[in-house]
Subunit: 321 residues, 2 copies
């Protein structure tokens, strides 16, 4: 929740000279967005979103992200559309950063997530997986299971300072997942970060998905497992099977799950929980002095992991086996 | 630069039900604004600004601030307009805070301030003073000279931790100002906080003034002295007489300064510098743990004060005596 890079009116006017958007009228830094700097941009052509990519987003990945948003929107998924300049290029440079303008997407992310929201997201995630099927570019998942041990190694020595015993629990969980991680599941483009603040609604109707900057190629059902983790637990870390059922069954209506995906689901959910536990733990232990962004609580995912460890089947998530 | 109060879509929809703005389409927290929480609001009627007033803005002052914005706009000064609900009321409650919707104002605040910007602001400040002449409400300046000693008392013990000798310098300056502060100057409504981030431009043309939440009744020339402090120094604390001349002489073209105001100007400038030195010092010494807002450097105003202390006349600011 911060603006990392300040953009002057002069620099922006120069940047906009390459676009058919008319003169700049207004530019407001947006408080949302943890990784990159986002502005609401008003020009003579309307309202847009301007993103400056900060160091955690690799520039070489941007053609994948921007191309994917264009590809998905052309197939009916509502998401921001990269705006191209007069040379047909969506990616530029502004204030020393890679930068892109995308269309403004209406909607509000739901602070209180209901089963209706979960149902709508399940359907949208399946639509995304189908629409991404013929996307030409590929991007390996930089936060796949192969990355978890190096992440853990960087945090293991201090993990117990967050919660006693945390290091040992992660070690045993990691060993289990490395041994039992399902291979050969249907793969494709996944969003990989469909948390509530990346899913917009107008009333109960899902109006669009945003923030494709973790999108990559990985097991499709793993994406659904990330969503279940992010949406179907209550504040007290209890699992809400009504929400789980709504999300998974609505996903399956659009894209049926195979037998292998159904059986792998509990372990995919464990892996998804460990992935967010690890990245949050690393962020938690490495807050820079004077940081303007509060790190998210890693223990939220420790508690979710505990639920997944005792789940025997997809039925424990409310879905049909 | 923070969103202090999160607003859910449900709460906002309920709030908007009292307005003729149609359905809510989008709500984005804005990173600008240190005192209050600001959102960019999109409804079926267009784009607006939604402000939630946090604890440093007194609720009993809000009718003055909102009424003033309406009064000034009716007299041709470009500033945000409070939007009234169906009962004709501009002030409501949302998420436990007093809240108001105002019109969206185009423009960008200038990161690099030029003499042309200073000239435009001088003129706008004079227009504001004239337009405010028949505003019915009054609000004493809560940060007038009478408030400076209590402010200093709360910080004096720790002032030297910011810069050795700072406490003694403020003490002697305060004693001088208390003894020599000009009384009986023309008074009226002043903005009192026309820093660059509160003044919008489209190109070199001033498009509007925002953030009236320090506005009050005080000496008109004191407001101009605040502007000169905020706009006419360079990064190295040297005073730019070209900017000073542009600002003051353009002010005078709209509202001539009286002999008393001309002679009082250097001491008004000293007072304005001390006022911001003191409030910044107090903020600097009282940053709450985990604060998301970085305090502004009080020593910037210590350096400006040093310039004012050796100024003998308004000529030292580039203006005609």
């Amino acid at each position: 929740m911060a603006v990392y890079t300040d953009v002057s009116g002069d620099d922006l006017a120069q940047f906009l000279a390459d676009y058919d958007l008319g003169a700049m009228l207004s530019l407001k830094g947006i408080a949302e967005g943890v990784e990159n700097t986002n502005y609401m941009l008003h020009t003579e052509r309307g309202f847009f979103f301007l993103t400056l990519y900060e160091k955690r987003t690799k520039e070489s990945d941007l053609p994948f992200f921007l191309g994917l948003m264009e590809h998905l929107a052309a197939r009916g998924l509502n998401c921001p559309q990269p705006v191209k300049n007069r040379d047909g290029v969506a990616l530029g440079r502004l204030s020393g950063r890679a930068a892109a303008i995308v269309t403004f997407l209406d909607g509000v992310w739901p602070r209180r997530q209901t089963a209706a929201h979960c149902a709508a997201l399940g359907e949208a995630d399946a639509i995304l997986h189908i629409a991404g099927g013929d996307f030409a570019l590929e991007r390996p998942n930089a936060l796949s299971i192969d990355s978890w041990r190096p992440l853990f190694d960087s945090a293991a020595g201090r993990a117990d300072s967050v919660q006693p015993g945390l290091s040992g629990l992660i070690e045993s969980e990691l060993a289990f997942l490395e041994k039992n991680w399902p291979r050969g599941l249907p793969e494709g483009v996944i969003h990989a970060d469909l948390f509530p603040d990346n899913v917009f609604f107008l009333g109960d109707k899902l109006s669009g998905l945003i923030d494709f900057y973790f999108a990559c190629n990985d097991a499709l059902a793993y994406d659904l497992a990330i969503c279940v983790n992010a949406w179907c637990f209550e504040q007290d870390a209890s699992f809400n099977v009504t929400k789980g059922r709504a999300m998974i069954e609505n996903y399956r209506r659009r894209r049926p799950l195979g037998r292998d995906e159904i059986e792998a689901f509990p372990i995919l959910a464990r892996g998804a929980a460990l992935r967010f536990l690890l990245t949050r733990l690393v962020d938690w232990l490495n807050v820079p002095a004077g940081a303007l962004v509060r790190p998210k609580d890693p223990l939220e995912y420790f508690r979710k992991l505990r639920f997944h460890r005792q789940a025997a089947s997809i039925r424990d998530y409310g879905a049909d086996a």
